[in-house]
């Protein structure tokens, strides 16, 4: 039971974090009435996960060999793109907003199409979703014995725990300041995206699309990325015990490029929005 609990908790954790952040974000910019973008994205993610789970079970041959890999890579790519875009926008926004809730809503809608929130929620749920569906399905078909039931219960509890954590972020996030929330989440999302980027590069390397590179370091005896703690760190910030140079390099590359994009004007500071109107006064 403990084993299956950890598996679904780990699989569901990332989705729960992203959903928690996305809802908090909408709440922070005063766009509560747009929760539906996040909700629909998340629900579509669940539906797509179930669909892919069913499809994978029905597939065979080359389609089963390669199909899931291609879908997995595409999801990673979309997720990294949306995370970067969102992080960039959030930084811009954090600098711009001061007080005035109504203007925040207007800005949110004008400068950031809220559907990207939906895509973010979708990829957050879908990335590990199909896997979780297959895992749960396998457990439920085995739930005819007491131990089978215990495993299935553990798995469901793991998902519930993940959802609770997402909810806790939403509850807790409401009370911290907008600036701090944006600062913390953009760093976290940056690391998450860097991890995904590096994973994607590693997959391409394994498929033979990218040249093969040797191992950059080996910390598996200190913190194994297959273990519970290492596994969570792997999912959250892309920790790897034995990465290749391409994986380590692409992680760093993403951090530097996206980090520069996000934080290029230094720490977020409230930049006055008015200078345009004041220039004539100075110029005069």
């Amino acid at each position: 039971m403990g084993g299956t609990f950890v598996v679904t908790l780990r699989e569901g954790f990332e989705a729960a974090l992203i959903m928690g952040i996305v809802y908090t974000y909408l709440q922070k910019i005063g766009a509560e009435r747009h929760y539906r973008y996040a909700t629909r994205g998340g629900l579509l993610g669940v539906l797509a996960s179930v669909a892919l789970g069913v499809l994978v079970t029905a597939m065979s041959g080359p389609l089963l060999d390669l199909g899931p890999d291609v879908i997995g890579l595409a999801v990673i790519l979309v997720a990294v793109t949306v995370l970067t875009w969102h992080g960039y926008w959030m930084q811009q926004h954090a600098r711009a907003v001061k007080g005035d809730v109504q203007r925040r809503i207007d800005e949110a809608q004008a400068s950031h199409r809220l559907w990207t929130i939906g895509v973010l929620a979708f990829t957050g749920v879908f990335r590990e979703g199909a896997e979780t569906v297959l895992f749960l399905w396998g457990l439920l078909t085995q739930a005819t014995s007491p131990s089978g039931w215990a495993s299935a219960t553990g798995a469901v509890l793991g998902l519930a725990m993940a959802a609770t954590l997402g909810w806790a972020i939403f509850r807790g996030g409401r009370h911290i300041s907008l600036q701090r929330f944006f600062a913390v989440t953009s760093v976290f999302l940056l690391l998450l995206a860097a991890g995904m980027f590096s994973t994607g590069a590693g997959r391409l390397e394994a498929m033979g699309v990218l040249p093969q590179s040797s191992m950059a370091w080996d910390t598996s005896h200190v913190l194994d990325d297959h273990g519970v703690v290492g596994g969570f760190l792997n999912g959250l910030v892309g920790y790897r015990a034995r990465p290749s140079w391409i994986e380590a390099g692409s992680y760093l590359f993403y951090l530097v490029v996206a980090g520069a994009l996000l934080f290029r004007s230094g720490p977020p500071k409230p930049r006055a929005r008015a200078p345009r109107g004041q220039i004539p006064a100075h110029a005069a």
Binding site: T57, P68, V78, L134, G138, Q142, A206, G208, S214, H226
Partner: protein, 114 residues
């Protein structure tokens, strides 16, 4: 912005699919069988030739889905119940590469390239 973004995504997906397709259409390397049965890998140690690509032919004979995962090999592959999946592995340097069933982590094994 939305349209060009969509187009970008579509282009990249098509490019990825064709690259992966091309990669799979290459030569036919050695096949190495691996079975998942009774919550274990059979065999749980696989010897392969170093510096030569091979194909892991993973058959899941148990009643529930498994996920062959190896961070060392950068592979994460769901193997549905009763199915067989081929995983192409690139030429490995001599060494030991561990793998496990991510859905049932007691099932572990390793590939020894020599």
């Amino acid at each position: 912005m939305g349209k060009s973004f969509n187009r970008l995504i579509a282009c990249v997906v098509v490019a990825l699919a064709s690259v992966v397709g091309a990669a799979s259409a290459a030569d036919a390397p050695q096949e190495v069988p691996l079975t998942i049965e009774k919550n274990q890998f059979q065999p749980n140690e696989v010897k392969v030739k170093a510096n030569a690509p091979f194909v892991l032919v993973i058959t899941n004979k148990s009643a529930k889905a498994a996920e062959f995962e190896s961070k060392d090999l950068r592979v994460e592959k769901v193997v549905p119940a009763g199915k067989t999946v081929n995983v192409r592995i690139r030429a490995l340097k001599p060494g030991t590469y561990s793998f496990l069933d991510d859905f049932n982590q007691q099932a572990t094994g390793r590939i020894v390239a020599e």
